[in-house]
């Protein structure tokens, strides 16, 4: 059996100019009075894609999802699903189903009747409904709970019922609004992988809204990072993390150190930056910004080394400071190194061995350094 990972690795329809998007959001704007929730937003989502809308609360991600579901109508622009415009189509005629953040399970119905709700509404024959419900219960491993009412279930079980109910009608697209938001951390992590497996197994298109970057990174094929009603970057999790297209994305996803300076030159795929915290930076970059332009380099903490001895290429990409804070997280240790100008650089190192001889301690003079391909030159 092929592992899901190998299927996922080869899945990249967005890179193929011949493939047609399944959902096309075209210049959609949504205003509530004076407030613009979604601002001239366009994006494409492909069949069988696990697509995440990521952003802080109030960035418009939920509004976009509600427009896909049909609960809100765009003020302007158009959404196309499978070649058909969704304009004016009410929620009950759309081939999409939604899993609500609050789960919205019907409290007066058993688990079984909750799952069968949409099927009964469609007038499916009784025997078929029973078969489908049994299949759904098996899928979410709740066979024993079919006769319970929602209030007799735990949070995790309710989440599964909500998932089963939204999948029962076999929608072309499943919309998930903060699907794991109400679960505790451990359950959330387990459920992330279950959702991914389920999505592969059923071959559905998932659009998930989340504010949790880890959740988006783990589950999604592609992530759209949103802010103030606009999409800032749409890319795979690895691209978002390693090649953020802007300071906002670099800052929003994970921890980052930003070094600002002026471009002093560019040669052979490298950019030189002066004036950033008093040390020169040389960084690989496909772009060639003009000399003298203000620019910034973003370097992730795990790509920064902390050492007692000066590195070979010092002072390029290296600076001295003292250890200000140490955070021991078990799997890794985070160092906050304070430079002479008062700025703090975050560095982290993996704890690959159980005990380190003569570990770095507080107030020690150290060098922090990074490689010439460790960071990204940011455009803005």
């Amino acid at each position: 059996m092929k592992s899901l990972g190998s299927i996922r690795r080869s899945f990249a329809p967005w890179a193929d100019p011949a493939s047609k998007p399944f959902i096309s959001v075209k210049n959609v704007t949504k205003r509530f009075g004076d407030f613009t929730a979604v601002d001239d937003l366009s994006l494409d989502i492909y069949t069988r894609e696990f697509f995440a809308l990521l952003g802080a609360s109030g960035c418009g991600k939920s509004t976009l999802l509600r427009m896909l579901a049909g609960f809100e109508q765009p003020t302007s622009g158009e959404i196309i699903l499978d070649g058909q415009s969704l304009a004016g189509i009410p929620p009950y005629r759309r081939p999409v189903n939604m899993m609500f953040q609050s789960y919205a399970l019907f409290p007066h119905m058993t688990v079984e009747n909750n799952i069968a709700f949409g099927l009964k509404q469609d007038g499916m024959p009784k025997a078929d409904i029973a078969a489908r419900v049994a299949q759904m219960l098996k899928l979410v491993k709740l066979e024993k709970f079919s006769q319970r009412k929602p209030h007799q279930l735990s949070g995790g079980q309710r989440q599964r019922v909500a998932l089963a109910r939204s999948l029962a009608k076999r929608p072309k697209v499943l919309l998930l609004d903060e699907p794991l938001g109400a679960l505790d951390k451990k359950l959330r992590e387990e459920t992330q992988f279950e959702l991914m497996d389920l999505q592969q197994e059923l071959g559905l298109t998932f659009v998930v809204v989340t504010h949790d970057q880890e959740e988006a990174m783990t589950m999604a094929d592609r992530i759209a990072v949103m802010s103030h009603g606009k999409v800032i970057q749409v890319a795979t999790p690895a691209e978002i993390y390693e090649a953020p297209n802007s300071r906002f994305v670099a800052d929003f996803i994970g921890d980052v150190n930003i070094f600002e300076g002026a471009v002093s030159g560019a040669e052979g795929g490298y950019v030189r930056l002066e004036g950033a915290n008093g040390f020169p930076i040389r960084m690989a970059s496909p772009e060639r910004p003009a000399a003298g332009a203000r620019s910034a380099v973003a370097v992730r903490p795990e790509k920064i080394r902390v050492s007692r001895q000066p590195p070979a290429n010092a002072p390029v990409n290296a600076v001295q400071g003292e250890i200000w804070d140490i955070g021991y997280l078990g799997d890794m240790t985070v160092f906050h190194v304070r430079l002479k100008d008062g700025r703090v650089i975050k560095a982290s190192s993996l704890n690959a061995v159980r005990a380190v001889e003569d570990p770095l301690g507080y107030d020690q003079e150290v060098w922090v350094s990074f490689g010439e391909d460790a960071g990204v030159v940011l455009k803005d």
């Binding site: 579901a69 049909g70 609960f71 009410p90 929620p91 009950y92 189903n97 939604m98 609500f100 609050s102 919205a104 399970l105 019907f106 409290p107 007066h108 709700f117 949409g118 509404q121 469609d122 009412k149 929602p150 209030h151 109910r165 939204s166 009608k169």
Partner: protein, 303 residues
């Protein structure tokens, strides 16, 4: 000390409702029940036996022997009482149904209104209570009588050419009860609709329901607790209603409240009227028990 005090206080809080029920329901009920077992007498009070505290225990036991269920037997012998009970229940049931049909859309509209408007709407529903109930029922006479406002309006607009006879019919009673008891129906339904999670409706729409079917399959079943509460709040007082049938109903209108009033004031037959009241209470206890069961069931469903 404070723990003892707070324990005492929480005891006291529980005792208050029980004490209230004891003094203002149970004891009066036993007095009425005791009178219903007596016989009429031309005396003061107008029944025998009357207990004499100086007769000692043996005197009380002696007198208690005179108690009998004759008055209850009497109620079964005269078909008037049976008819009055049945007609009261029917009139109350029809009125309750009409009240529900009018109150539900009002409550629904209130619950769907913008949050800022809701307190005002709630005030408007309660507003009629600021005027005396009796005055409002009298006002209906002026509206419903043959030369009243309603007929004048309908005649003037040409909808009818003969005045409608509404006053002194059962229709006038229905109108009176619906009008007087509407707030008791609106408020519990409103409260059950108002606390409902609106995403449940969205979930129903998402799963293929039109707004209408979403209402019948989700919203209405979830408001049933409010509907049951409202129906009982209207039905129970309506069965024993006296003022509305007396003022708006005709002479042939048979309602148990009127019968009771006649027995008590016109016939001065306290024992029979007490028996009528006791049976009325028993008839009403059934829906109350049903209501409590429904409420307990709804509570156990986590609503």
């Amino acid at each position: 000390m404070t723990r003892v005090a707070s324990a005492l206080f929480s005891r006291l809080v529980i005792i208050i409702p029980y004490a209230w029920l004891l003094f203002f329901f149970l004891i009066p009920f036993f007095i009425v029940f005791r009178i219903s077992l007596s016989q009429t007498a031309v005396a003061m009070p107008p029944y025998t036996p009357v207990f004499d505290l100086f007769g000692g225990l043996s005197g009380i036991v002696e007198k208690a022997r005179e108690f009998s269920f004759d008055n209850y037997v009497w109620l079964t012998e005269d078909v008037l009482y049976f008819n009055a009970y049945v007609s009261s229940v029917i009139i109350a049931a029809i009125s309750t149904l009409l009240t529900l049909l009018i109150a539900y859309p009002i409550a629904y509209g209130m619950a769907k209104a913008p949050k800022t408007v809701r307190p005002t709407l709630l005030m408007l529903v309660i507003l009629p209570f600021w005027t005396s109930f009796l005055i409002r029922v009298y006002a209906w006479i002026a509206i419903l009588k043959p030369e009243g406002l309603l007929n004048q309006f309908l005649l003037a607009t040409g909808v009818i050419d003969q005045p409608l006879i509404i006053l002194n019919t059962n229709w006038a009673i229905y109108i009176g009860i619906v009008y007087s008891y509407l707030p008791f129906m609106v408020l519990p339904i409103y409260s059950s609709l108002e606390k409902m999670d609106h995403t449940l409706t969205e979930a129903a729409l998402d799963l293929g329901c039109t707004p209408f079917t979403a209402f019948w399959r989700v919203t209405f079943p979830l408001s049933l607790a409010g509907v049951v509460a409202g129906c009982l709040l209207v039905f129970i007082p309506a069965v024993g209603e006296f003022v509305i049938p007396d003022l708006l109903g005709g002479s042939e209108t048979l309602m148990i409240g009127k019968t009771l009033w006649n027995e008590f004031n016109a016939n001065r037959d306290w024992p029979v009227s007490s028996a009528v009241a006791t049976i009325l209470l028993l008839i009403l206890v059934l829906p109350i028990v049903y209501f409590q069961n429904a409420q307990a069931k709804a509570d156990s469903e986590g609503r």
